[in-house]
């Protein structure tokens, strides 16, 4: 059909099949981002310019909001806590990722697994653990020297814990590929190690560093779970959204704050564009993968840092596990397994756990395919015209959208009587799609980072050998990026297992996820049961993570020989 159309228009330059496939892929990618991200968000955010009755309000809502005294304080609080968190997390995650990828330390798979712990547990679990450790009855309260965990220090501490895996994941991907020839050349030029680090290693990881900083900053700005639970009344932008939407049911003002929160997304996008303009593929077709050689002066301190970080992460989670086994903190610390009998606390009992597993598996299966193909099409397709840029911007947006804004946006958009996709509403499918979109950006960044490390000449060679682009994609790109692809799948799986903020508006009578059940138990004062549910979720995500490591090791032998 399109052949005929094209043939009938001789004036139009005939595109190669590859180009057309990439073009269609681009359109499909944009259609997906439009239907499941842009349109729902627009439905909600346009309310910022409406009166509660639905009339046009212009910028009146913004004016009201700006004149509300707490705004500037909340915005400033958001910015400085996020910047401080990023300033702590990114160097720490860099050292950790560097140790995993560029040093010779033992038990790397173990450290790699432990690094992910904070992501593997619902955020309520570490919040409970922090209260047990540093709360007013906390076991380590003396460490605060009279300070209180309820406030900015608690927020930053919890955010550092929570954001560490995202930063470490991005940096580990960025550092995992390096061209040994550059290092050999530098050594031959008698550059010092510091100079090599400064002129070869850091520039090679530049894109990852910028991504990690942007991701951490935006995660902190948009997360309302941590400020809500241990932030006390310390006002930040995300809790302002919560106040407007959940406290006051004022969607118009909620949308106003939602728009304000998109500013970091725009800045992040500009930063990303800047970083990508500086990019060079680190793995050209002729590259020789770097294999770190043992060197005690470097390896031992790095190992010490890794052990310290890993011990902290395990310790916090360990306290939470212990919290799930006690009867009632802090007055009855006898151990019991009763907290795991979930039917005592929630009519759905263990069913919500199995539902969550199904949901997360679907999100991982569907989401990974979408994320990776979209990233490939956006990065390797024709860069002609505004479409790829729009697509890249759209992919960066979900990170900046608080879950609760996305959840409400989905309700307003998919529940609209005129929406042809309305049949999705109330089904498990919408929970799955919502989770994929909610956690889209980090997966996308990981995919892009991995794809960018492959020289575009792979495609050129493929094209010159008349191999269709999808064959090159399937035979070269996907196998070479398999570790990143697995990483993305597990990232989607664990986040879908643990997420609350968006799905809390979307679950139906038969589709209540375990993470929501956990929040309900905590609200009902059943902290130990909530911790138990958190531990069950953690058990499942840890299992998934271990499966990934095992699979990664097996596949790595088959597909990653080029790195060695």
């Amino acid at each position: 059909m399109s052949e005929a159309v094209l043939a009938g228009q001789p004036s139009r330059p005939r595109r190669s099949l590859d180009q057309r496939i990439m073009r269609w892929g681009l359109w499909l990618a944009l259609a997906f981002l439009l239907a499941f991200l842009a349109l729902p968000l627009a439905t909600l955010l346009l309310r910022a310019f409406e009166t509660p009755e639905g009339g046009f309000a212009g910028i009146a809502n913004f004016r009201t909001y700006v004149t509300t005294p707490a705004l500037l304080a909340a915005a400033w609080n958001s910015v400085w806590t996020a910047a401080l968190t990023a300033a702590i997390v990114v160097p720490l995650a860099f050292i950790y990722a560097y140790a995993l990828t560029r040093a010779c330390i033992p038990a790397k798979p173990l450290f790699r697994a432990v690094m992910m712990l904070p992501l593997l547990a619902p955020s309520l679990l570490p919040a409970l653990a922090l209260i047990y450790l540093f709360g007013n009855q906390g076991m380590l309260r003396w460490l605060l020297m009279g300070g209180s965990i309820y406030g900015p220090s608690g927020i930053v501490a919890a955010q550092v814990f929570y954001c560490f895996p995202s930063a470490a994941l991005i940096l580990a991907v960025a550092l995992s590929t390096a061209d040994a020839r550059l290092y050999e050349a530098a050594a031959a030029l008698r550059a010092t190690r510091l100079r090599i680090f400064w002129t070869v290693t850091l520039p090679g990881a530049r894109y990852g560093l910028v991504s990690a900083f942007v991701v951490v900053f935006t995660l902190v700005v948009t997360d309302f779970g941590i400020p809500k639970v241990i932030g006390g009344q310390f006002p930040v932008l995300a809790t302002d959204v919560y106040k407007q939407v959940v406290g006051l049911q004022d969607f118009n003002m909620g949308a106003v704050v939602g728009v304000v929160l998109l500013i970091p997304a725009v800045l992040a996008f500009l930063l990303d564009r800047w970083a990508s303009r500086q990019r060079t593929a680190t793995m050209s077709g002729r590259a020789v993968p770097l294999r770190p050689a043992p060197r005690a002066v470097r390896d031992r301190p790095l190992l010490a840092v890794c052990i310290l970080v890993a011990a902290t992460l395990v310790g916090i989670v360990g306290v939470a596990v212990w919290g799930s086994l006690i009867r009632f903190w802090p007055y009855n610390l006898t151990l019991t397994l009763e907290n795991y009998d979930f039917t005592r606390f929630d009519t759905a009992g263990w069913d919500s756990v199995w539902l969550s597993v199904r949901m997360a598996a679907m999100a991982a299966a569907v989401g990974t395919v979408i994320v990776f193909i979209v990233a490939y099409v956006l990065d390797r397709g024709s860069q002609h015209g505004p479409l790829p840029g729009i697509g890249r911007f759209a992919a960066a947006v979900p990170l900046a959208v608080p879950g609760l804004v996305l959840g409400l946006a989905y309700v307003l958009f998919f529940n609209h009587p005129a929406n042809p996709l309305g049949f999705l509403y109330g089904t498990l499918a919408i929970l799955v799609l919502n989770s994929v979109v909610h956690f889209y950006t980090v997966g996308h960044l990981a995919a892009v980072t991995a794809i960018r490390q492959l020289d575009p000449e792979f495609e050129s060679v493929g094209a010159s050998m008349r191999v269709p682009v999808w064959v090159t994609f399937g035979r070269v790109t996907v196998p070479m990026c398999l570790p990143a692809i697995l990483e993305i799948a597990i990232y989607l799986f664990v986040n879908t297992m643990t997420t609350v903020s968006a799905v809390i508006f979307l679950y139906g009578p038969d589709t209540k996820p375990a993470s929501v059940a956990m929040v309900h138990m905590d609200e009902a004062g059943q902290a130990s049961a909530a911790a138990a549910m958190g531990v069950v979720i953690l058990g499942i995500t840890v299992t998934a993570k271990l499966a990934q490591l095992l699979l990664g090791a097996l596949l790595g032998r088959a597909t990653q020989a080029w790195r060695r």
Binding site: A70, K243, G247, Q249, P417, I504, H520, E523, A524, G525
Partner: protein
């Protein structure tokens, strides 16, 4: 003949299944406590054999936001167990189906809609209350408060926690009670003085009581229902209903406009105001909408009903935005944490 017998067997075999299929499935949105869902569902399904209840339960703020967001295409058939303030908001948006359930006229006048036909009917009242941790009190020498005014005592400095009224319906209910008891000017003066003793304004309505139970602080302002589950787990917590006037909120029932199961929803609304239903509510709440039903919940003072301030829900609801804005102006701006 044999065929007929087979057919009969088949029919008998199929009969229960057929009956099960004919049950109308009602989607019921609620903010009831988790532990109430199973008994409420059981009672309603026993009374209305052809109705099946499918709960969607969440905290008041979340469920209200969901209901309002779903307004153009409601997914809930009926709301059973949600704050009357939420229902009045929905009434103002024309989201409620007017229907006077059978026997609803017998409810207390201030615990049912004043419209005809009614838009909502009350179930029971829950009040703001003080959750008092007796162990922390002993450690820090805190006297047991019996009135709201007792909380102004400087010994409570940094020991009191209440929900932020802008985030939590419980917080607003407490504030509305103070306004009802003291008049607006008196309430602002009281809150200004109480602010000196507040450690934190939480975003969640249940957190003050839950955290007081964990000994995070001595005094949490929350509502009365919270305590039972906590005490059963061994928390040294006492629930105090202050004697100088407490604000109360109603749990109420309302049918959603546009429900596809109108008839079944009406029958559930009828059940919700019936005597057996009230006896069920009486297992958890001390003041019921139907006079003459004796609550079986324990640990409530005998003069409980007299402590409630008279409340004109509609008047408070119309003032809500202004009151909350003023509250935020007074207390939210200077909410840097105090250690």
């Amino acid at each position: 003949m044999r065929r007929l017998a087979l057919l009969a067997c088949a029919l008998i075999g199929l009969a229960p299944a057929a009956e099960a299929q004919q049950r109308t499935r009602l989607t019921v949105y609620t903010a009831l406590e988790n532990e109430q869902l199973a008994p409420f569902k059981q009672a309603a399904e026993a009374a209305l054999r052809d109705i099946e209840i499918a709960w969607v339960r969440d905290s008041t703020g979340i469920i209200t936001a969901r209901l309002i967001a779903e307004r153009q295409n409601p997914r809930a058939d009926i709301v059973w167990g949600l704050s009357v303030f939420s229902l009045l908001q929905m009434e103002a948006l024309d989201m409620l189906e007017p229907y006077t359930p059978q026997g609803a006229e017998a409810l207390r006048a201030n615990m049912r809609s004043d419209r005809s036909p009614m838009t909502w009917t009350g179930m029971d009242a829950f009040v703001s209350a003080i959750c008092f941790n007796t162990v922390v009190a002993q450690q820090r020498n805190l006297p047991r408060p019996t009135t709201w005014n007792d909380l102004l005592n400087p010994v409570f400095r940094g020991q009191v926690v209440m929900p932020n009224p802008n985030s939590s319906g419980t917080g607003f209910l407490t504030m509305a009670g103070w306004i009802g008891a003291r008049g607006e000017a008196g309430a602002w003066e009281y809150m200004t003085r109480l602010h000196e003793n507040i450690q934190v304004y939480t975003h969640s309505g249940s957190a003050p009581c839950n955290n007081a139970a964990r000994g995070e602080y001595g005094v949490g302002i929350s509502f009365d229902m919270r305590s039972v589950a906590l005490r059963n787990q061994g928390a040294p917590i006492e629930i105090i209903v202050p004697t100088d006037g407490v604000g109360f909120d109603l749990e109420a029932t309302a049918i959603l406009r546009g429900t596809r199961n109108q008839a079944a929803a009406r029958r559930l609304a009828d059940f919700a105001v019936s005597r057996p239903a009230m006896e069920l509510y009486g297992r958890y709440y001390a003041l019921l909408a139907l006079p003459g039903v004796e609550p079986t919940v324990r640990n409530y003072p005998a003069d409980f009903a007299e402590r409630l301030v008279s409340a004109d829900f509609r008047a408070i609801a119309t003032q809500r935005d202004r009151l909350l804005r003023e509250w935020a102006g007074r207390f939210d701006g200077k909410s840097a944490p105090r250690n």
